[in-house]
C-alpha cells in the first residue's frame, strides 16, 4: 500500500465487489500496453528517511551566506508572517477558484494583488500573475503583436535581462538590438515595424532607464511600449503608467518570495483598460451574489484557453496564486513607506559598496548612469574574485563574462559584509 491511501484490504475487497471485479489488476484490463514489471525506482522511504536525505543534500549547497548576486532574483528579507499565511491549508491546498462561492478568500487575494500591481505600475488593470518575470515579458511581447496586428518583433537593448530575451526568442519573438553602450538604452533609432519597444528599469545592469523616451519612441512608430520593472523600485521610481507605457511587467520575486533556486516566483502584468482583452492569464473582478452582497469572481474568461481553445490569447491556464499571495502579504506588511525604506536601504548600501570598490581600484563600468542597488564593476578576473569571495564565506556577484561583475546589494547586507567583500576582492585584484 502506498503511504497516503487510506484503503485497507477489506475496503479494497468491498469496493471491487461493488464494481463487480475480482482484483485490482482487473481495473487495468483495458490497457493494451500494461507494464508488467515494477518501476525501477529506489525503494520507498519513510517520511523520516526521506527528510534526512533532504537535509543531507541541503548541506551540499552553499547557502545562508551573505549574497551579492542579483541579475533578476534578489536576496531580500522575507517577513515571517508570509510563511504563516502561505502554510494555511485553505490557500495551500486549494486550486483555481472555479467555484467562487467557496473560494472568496483566494479570489479576494487575487483582487488585492491586482490592485497593488496597478498602484505600483500606475496602470489600470493587472492580471492575477503569470509564471515568472521572463514569461511576463514574452506574454507582453505577444500582446504587443496582437494589439498592433504586427508580427511579434521587439526593439530593446542588452540592458534587458538576457534571460528574458532568450525566452522571447524561444517563443518566436524577433528581437532587435538598440544601442546601450553607456549602460542606458538609446531609443532614438527604433525600426518602424516593431510591435513593441521594451525598456527594463532598473536595467539588467542596474541602471535607471528613461522610460518616457522609450514610450515616445514606441508610439512614434505605432508600436506599444512595455516597461519591465522591479516592483520594489516602483516605490521610488515614477510609475510606468505615468510615463506613457502601455504594458508594465516584471518579476515579483523581490516581493517576499524565497530565492528557492529560481522558483517558484511570479510574473506580474499590468496594462491600460482598453487593452485588457489582450491581457493573458486570470483576472479576478468584483461582482455581487444573488443577495446583492459584494463578491469576487474570475472574469473575462472569454479570453482564456478553457473557453476559447485555439483562439485563446494564450495557453496560460493558471496563475501563481500562492506566490502572488506572498507578494500580496509582503506588500501589505511593508506598505508604501516600508517598500520605500527597502529601496532606500538597498540604494544606500549599494552606493557605499560602489564607492568602496572604486577606492580599491575597481571602477564602475557605467559611472555616468544612475543606479539604485545593482551595478557593474570592472574586474580583471571575475571568476577568481568570486572564488576568493566564496572562501571568505560570501556569494559574489554575477559574472558577465566580459570582465564585468554585476553586483546586487539588498537591505540585508551589512557594512561589515561589504567591507569583507571589498577586502576579498582587493586581495585577488592586487595578486
Amino acid at each position: 500500500m502506498a503511504r497516503f491511501t487510506p484503503h485497507t484490504e477489506d475496503d479494497v475487497r468491498e469496493m471491487l465487489g461493488a464494481i463487480g471485479l475480482d482484483s485490482v489488476d482487473d481495473l487495468f484490463s483495458d490497457v493494451p500496453t500494461k507494464l508488467e514489471k515494477d518501476l525501477d525506482l529506489p525503494p520507498a522511504l519513510s517520511e523520516y528517511e526521506a527528510l534526512r536525505d533532504v537535509e543531507t543534500l541541503a548541506r551540499k549547497n552553499s547557502s545562508e551566506m551573505p549574497m551579492f548576486l542579483g541579475a533578476g532574483a534578489y536576496d531580500r528579507i522575507v517577513p515571517s508572517a508570509i510563511g504563516a499565511m502561505l502554510s494555511r491549508g485553505e490557500y495551500l491546498t486549494a486550486y483555481t477558484p472555479y467555484q467562487p462561492e467557496i473560494s472568496q478568500g483566494g479570489l479576494q487575494v487575487i483582487f488585492e494583488f491586482q490592485s497593488m500591481i496597478s498602484e505600483l505600475t500606475g496602470l489600470e488593470v493587472a492580471n492575477a500573475s503569470v509564471y515568472d518575470g521572463a514569461n511576463a515579458v514574452v506574454e507582453a511581447a505577444l500582446m504587443t503583436a496582437r494589439l498592433t496586428k504586427r508580427d511579434p518583433k521587439v526593439a530593446t537593448s542588452k540592458a534587458l535581462n538576457p534571460r528574458y530575451r532568450e525566452v522571447m526568442e524561444t517563443y518566436g519573438v524577433e528581437v532587435v538590438d538598440l544601442n546601450c553602450d553607456n549602460g542606458t538604452t538609446d531609443f532614438s533609432d527604433v525600426p518602424d515595424d516593431v510591435s513593441g519597444v521594451f525598456v527594463q528599469s532598473p536595467s539588467f545592469f542596474g541602471t535607471v532607464e528613461d522610460i518616457g523616451a522609450a514610450a515616445e519612441a514606441a508610439h512614434a512608430v505605432g508600436a506599444l511600449c512595455v516597461a519591465v520593472c522591479d516592483p520594489v523600485s516602483l516605490a521610488v521610481l515614477e510609475a510606468p503608467g505615468n510615463l506613457g507605457v502601455d504594458v508594465a511587467v516584471g518579476e515579483a520575486q523581490p516581493l517576499g518570495m524565497n530565492l528557492s533556486f529560481g522558483g517558484p516566483y511570479a510574473g506580474y502584468m499590468a496594462t491600460r483598460e482598453k487593452y485588457v482583452r489582450q491581457l493573458p492569464g486570470r483576472i479576478a473582478g468584483e461582482t455581487v451574489d444573488a443577495d446583492g452582497k459584494l463578491a469576487y469572481v474570475l472574469t473575462l474568461r472569454g479570453r482564456e484557453q478553457d473557453i476559447r481553445r485555439a483562439r485563446a490569447n494564450s495557453n496560460i491556464c493558471t496563475n501563481q496564486a500562492l506566490t502572488a499571495l506572498a507578494a500580496t502579504v509582503y506588500t501589505a506588511l511593508l506598505g508604501p513607506e516600508g517598500l520605500r525604506e527597502v529601496a532606500h536601504l538597498s540604494a544606500s548600501k549599494a552606493h557605499y559598496l560602489a564607492v568602496r570598490l572604486a577606492e580599491a581600484g575597481l571602477p564602475l563600468r557605467y559611472p555616468d548612469a544612475p543606479f539604485l542597488w545593482e551595478f557593474v564593476v570592472e574586474m580583471e578576473d571575475v571568476a577568481k574574485a568570486n572564488e576568493a569571495l566564496l572562501e571568505a564565506g560570501i556569494v559574489g556577484g554575477y559574472d558577465l563574462g566580459d570582465g564585468g561583475m554585476l553586483v546586487a546589494v539588498t537591505e540585508k547586507r551589512t557594512r561589515s559584509e561589504m567591507d569583507a567583500f571589498v577586502e576579498a576582492v582587493r586581495e585577488v585584484t592586487n595578486a
Binding site: 486550486y95 518566436g172 493558471t318 500562492l322 501589505a332 568570486n386
Partner: protein, 471 residues
Amino acid sequence: ILGSLIRDKGREGRRGFTLPRNDVDDVEFSAIVPKERLRSEKPGLPEVDEPTVVRHYTNLSRKNQAIDTTFYPLGSCTMKHNPRANEVAAANPGFAGLHPLQPEAQVQGALQVMHELQGFLAEISGLPAVSLQPLAGAQGELTSILMVRKFFEEAGDAGRTTVLVPSTAHGTNPATASMVGYGAKEIGVDEHGGVDVEELREAVDETTAALMITNPNTCGVYERNIREISEILHEAGAFLYMDGANMNANLGRMRPAEAGVDIMHYNLHKTFSTPHGGGGPGCGAIAATDVLAPFRPDPVVEREGEEFRFARPQKSIGRVAGFHGNFGPILRAWNYIKMHGPELRDVTDMAVLNANYVRAKLGGTYRIPYNELCKHEVVVQPPEGKKALDIAKGLIDFGYHPPTIYFPLVVKEAMLIEPTETESKETLDDFIGAMLELAETSNEELQAAPTGAPTRRLDETRAARKLKARW
C-alpha cells in the same frame, strides 16, 4: 468586516514590518536619479500593522475550501492530499535560500535533486530525455510542441502545419498549438470515448506535425487503440504528444513510451502532489524520446562522475523560464517519489479503484456516457432535466467541492469526477449519498443553492460587463 479590503483596514503611517537600521550613509534618491524619473505620488498601498495583516489573511483563508478541509473531486486536477513532509522539505533553508545563479559548485545538492528527478520521470514514462524547466502543465505542452516544431525545422520539413487535437482535449492543447503557429484540427471520439481512429487515419497526412492526446483521456477512458494511433502518426512522420495531466492513472501500470508516445508533459503538482496553492505554482516537466532529446530547453542537469552540472542540449529550443524551473515543486515531487518508490503503482491502483467505485455507485441514477472501466476519473451526467451546474452548487451545501463541470465538451452537462487515491471509502460513500440525494432534489431548490457558503451564486456577467479588477 471580513469582506473589506486590506487597504480599507489601514491608516496613513501604520507599518506592518520593521527593517534594520541603516549602517551606512543615507543616500537621497534625488541625488542619484534624475528627478523626472522619480515617483511623484505615493502608490495607494495598504498601510497596516502585522496584527491586521495576519488576521485579514487568516480570515480570508477561512472563506476558502481546499483539500485540507473537504473532498475535492475536481476532474482532471488530481486534488489529492499533499503530504506535509513535502512542505518541511521545501522549507529547508539549504534549498529555500539558494540563488539560481550561484556557481554549480555551490549548488550540488540542488542539482542532484534535479538530476535524480529527471531519472525518476524518465523511468516512470519510459521516455529518457527529461526537462524540468516548464513552469506549468500548459508550458510543458508548449515546450513539447516547440520541440516538435524545431525538429521539423532542423529536418528541413517545412510542410508540417497542423496539430491534431481530440475533441476531448483540455483547452490548453489547441491553445498551445496555436501559440506555436500550428493550425489545430479537431478529431472526434468513438463510442468508447476514445479517439476515433478512422477519423484520425483520414486526418493524418504529411502536414501533420503531431497529435496531442491525453491518456487516459478526459472522459476518464483509456485510449485502447493507443498503439494503432501511434503507428498511424509515426507512419506519417508525425509525433505523438501526450498530455500528462492524467498520469495519476498510469503510474507503474502503463508507460507512455510503450504506448508509442514520443513526448509528454507531467503536471508534477498533480501527479506528485505539490499543493496546488490556489492555482499555482506548478511544474510542467517534459519527457521525450532520444530523437527529441536534443531539442529540450536549456539547461538540463547532467552528471559527470560525482559532479552535477548544467548543460545545453545540442539543438535546444532555448529557455522557457527565467531560471531552472519551479524548484519548490521539483523538490516536493522528488521527495514524494522517494517516499513511494515502485509502490507508486498503488497510487494509481487506488485512484482508479476509487473512480470506478463512484462510477458503479452513481450509475443507474446518473447517466454514465462511457460506462465501461474508467481510469482515475469518471464523467457522469445528471438525470434528465437536471443541470450539472445545479448539482454542483448543491454539493457545496453538502460541504463538498464540486467536480469539474461542462468538461469534457463532448459530453453534455458533463460532470468529471476525480476522487483521487487519498480519499477513504467512507468519504466516497458520503459523497455518493449526497449526489444521489441531489438527483432527487427539486430544481427549484437546487437553483437556490448554495445557501450555506460564504456567498450565494454570483452575477458573473456583471463582473465582465462592468470590469472592476482593482480597488
